[in-house]
């Protein structure tokens, strides 16, 4: 075999396992999902494999009136918009909280850094379900926060902290905050601190230094953090279920309902694909908008 041939074979062998994994665990299931979304619905749970219908997609935007005509349907859109809004809010709060934390971490000495990174990742050692239950204990009427406030006399009636969108936003922010802190920390850590000194030498104020030196250099981390928080928040299931009290569905719960109570697998599959589309669009927007900065940082 020629030298070039060997190289190609070697490359194929190296890439092979990854390609196989992607095909088997991503492309095949996705194709199956797309296929099911165009099949008929079996009301006792399952799919009518021999029936082709775009009904699942029609259902997403329209509802059938009695006479069979289609009317616009805003129910599902409302749930999807709420998911996008709550995810955006989660992202914004995470950024506001996470950026200062990351800055603080990046400016400690090496030993402290290791301890702080460990502390940020610590919650991941506990199951997400358990952490959400912990928030229930904190937020409920007779929970820690209300008890303390009542005892201090700040309030006379328990605040309605649990079972609403506020609780969901708190829970989501808590769950995904490390995804914001870590990438920003990683990009801040690489900053040459002499640049900051130089900026002070040139009579820049603190605020100017942050705005003109630190933020632009941390930008790739910020973008990565925003994506890492926004995307999983969009598909959240446990948090809205537990902390939202079943009153505010997000798209993840809507999908779960289609495979459970509603027994509408094709529609569930269609919703899943729609969620994927939303994620791809938001990723595409990021990539387009920030291509320059991302490449510049390499």
């Amino acid at each position: 075999m020629s030298r070039a041939g060997k190289t190609i074979l070697f490359r194929a062998l190296l890439i092979g396992p990854a390609l196989m994994a992607i095909t088997v665990f991503m492309i095949v299931p996705l194709a199956l999902m797309a296929y099911i979304s165009f099949r008929g619905r079996d009301y006792s749970g399952g799919v009518l494999w021999d029936q082709f219908t775009p009904e699942a997609y029609v259902r997403l935007f329209f509802e059938r009136e009695l006479d069979g005509t289609l009317a616009l349907n805003f129910n599902y859109m409302a749930i999807i918009l709420r998911s996008v809004w709550l995810s955006f809010l989660t992202m914004a709060i995470s950024l506001a909280v996470g950026l200062p934390v990351a800055m603080f971490m990046a400016t400690r000495n090496a030993r402290w850094k290791a301890v702080l990174v460990f502390m940020v990742t610590l919650p991941f050692w506990t199951n997400l379900l358990v952490r959400n239950y912990a928030w229930i204990l904190l937020l409920r009427d007779h929970g820690t926060i209300n008890s303390v406030l009542l005892w201090l006399g700040v309030i006379s009636e328990p605040l309605p902290l649990l079972h609403n969108s506020f609780a969901v936003a708190v829970g989501l922010t808590y769950s995904f905050l490390p995804f914001m802190v870590l990438p920003i920390y990683a990009s801040l850590e690489k900053i040459d601190l002499r640049l900051v000194e130089a900026s002070f030498d040139l009579y820049a104020t603190r605020w100017q230094t942050i705005r003109r030196i630190i933020l632009p250099l941390a930008f790739p981390g910020i973008v990565a953090g925003c994506v890492l928080v926004f995307v999983p928040a969009l598909g959240a299931y446990i948090t809205p279920e537990l902390l939202g009290g079943g009153k505010t569905l997000m798209i993840g719960n809507l999908i779960g309902f289609q495979f459970g109570g509603a027994r509408n697998w094709p529609f569930g599959a269609a919703l899943g694909l729609f969620l994927l589309l939303l994620v791809l669009i938001s990723l595409g927007l990021y990539a387009r908008r920030y291509r320059g900065e991302l490449e510049g940082s390499q």
């Binding site: 129910n75 409920r140 007779h142 079972h163 009290g245 079943g246 009153k247 509603a262």
Partner: protein, 355 residues
């Protein structure tokens, strides 16, 4: 969710059940004069296995499944050598429709006369040709007298759907589409299998008007929530209500007068059961009062055999949440298999309620 309550009930006895299963498989599993049951985990009293063997000489063994899908799949694949199975209402309908069950004419059996009238028929098996009732439970609501004005509520869904001012924000609903839909249908006087959008709208109106006053919709932690006093009124399954009362004896479980849904698990025989005669004898035997009572004592749920009350454990017998008083029988509403059109409406209402 009902299943979870039930399965979790006797975790400690899991070992016993496993041991029995293992022993059964250790012996000659296919020998004559044996009976193989297939049931939920911890849903059959080991005491009854010995008792049946002593009375009839037929050795009984139990094998367990974790979901009704498992049961259905095994039966469709050829039975798996089981003589007696214990499906729920929905699965029973599918099995009868797909011809998976033996016609054992339960209605001709000697002990059929022992059944409570409400259980002599059932959607999917109207004439009781295929199945006998095993355990059943209800969906009503529980309240804590200490937290409601006057210490007493009417036995009506009104208390939940149009709560008094003092109770606003202190009520919780189950997060189960069919249970919530059924209750609202009884309350508005609409058929729960309605295909009329105008009637579905009535149900939606009731639920939407109620929503601001609902603290949460949830199937989990209903027992703890009542015990902790987080809510004053909770839509609840009767098994859970019984366990609230263990900690809070004053709590009241209400069978609303407009209608109270009940679910039923049945005893049935697969079409190709190896030991058909013993299986029939077993089904008949299960409808005798004392046997049914022993079964209930183990599962903590009600049976459908009249006269079984005197053999019940005291805490079950004395709890009207479990041992339904006769005067409430007419309030009980059975499972109905609704049309696809009706299911669509129900789903639409549920989605609108949650969007």
């Amino acid at each position: 969710m009902i299943r979870n309550n039930r399965v979790g009930k006797h975790t400690a006895k899991l070992l016993v059940a496993t041991a029995i299963t293992l022993t059964a498989f250790g012996g000659s599993a296919m020998a004559e004069g044996e009976l193989h049951l297939y049931n939920w985990t911890n849903y059959f009293a080991p005491e009854l296995l010995e008792r049946f063997e002593k009375e009839t000489g037929t050795k009984v063994s139990v094998d367990n499944y974790a979901s009704e899908e498992d049961l259905l799949a095994k039966l469709q694949a050829g039975g798996g050598g089981y003589d007696v199975i214990f499906p729920g209402s929905t699965t029973l309908g599918v099995m009868v429709e797909k011809g998976l069950l033996a016609k054992i004419d339960v209605n001709q059996m000697e002990n059929f006369k022992n059944l409570l009238p409400a259980f002599t028929t059932m959607a999917g098996d109207e004439k009781r040709e295929y199945s006998a009732p095993y355990m059943w439970g209800t969906t009503g609501f529980t309240y804590d007298p200490a937290l409601v004005p006057g210490g007493k509520l009417e036995e009506s869904w009104k208390e939940l759907f149009e709560p008094k001012d003092e109770l606003k924000g202190k009520i919780a609903m189950l997060n189960e589409m069919s249970d919530v839909w059924n209750a609202a249908a009884y309350y508005t006087g609409v058929s729960k299998c309605t295909e009329d959008p105008a009637e579905a709208q009535k149900i939606l109106d009731v639920l939407m008007a109620q929503k601001p006053h609902v603290k949460l919709y949830s199937n989990d932690g209903t027992i703890d929530r009542m015990i902790a006093g987080e809510v004053a009124v909770h839509m609840q399954w009767n098994g859970a209500a019984h366990r609230v009362k263990e900690k809070k004896p004053d709590a009241v479980y209400v069978y609303p007068k407009e209608g109270t849904t009940f679910w039923t698990d049945v005893i049935a025989v697969p079409k190709d059961a190896p030991n058909m005669e013993a299986a029939k004898a077993f089904v008949n035997w299960m409808m005798s009062p004392e046997v049914a009572a022993i079964a209930s004592n183990y599962t903590g749920y009600s049976n459908a055999v009249s006269g079984s009350g005197e053999f019940l454990k005291e805490d079950l017998r004395n709890d009207p949440a479990v041992n339904t008083p006769e005067e409430y029988n007419e309030r009980l509403r059975a499972f109905e298999a609704c049309s696809p059109a009706s299911k669509d409406l129900r789903e639409k209402v549920w989605t609108k309620l949650k969007s």
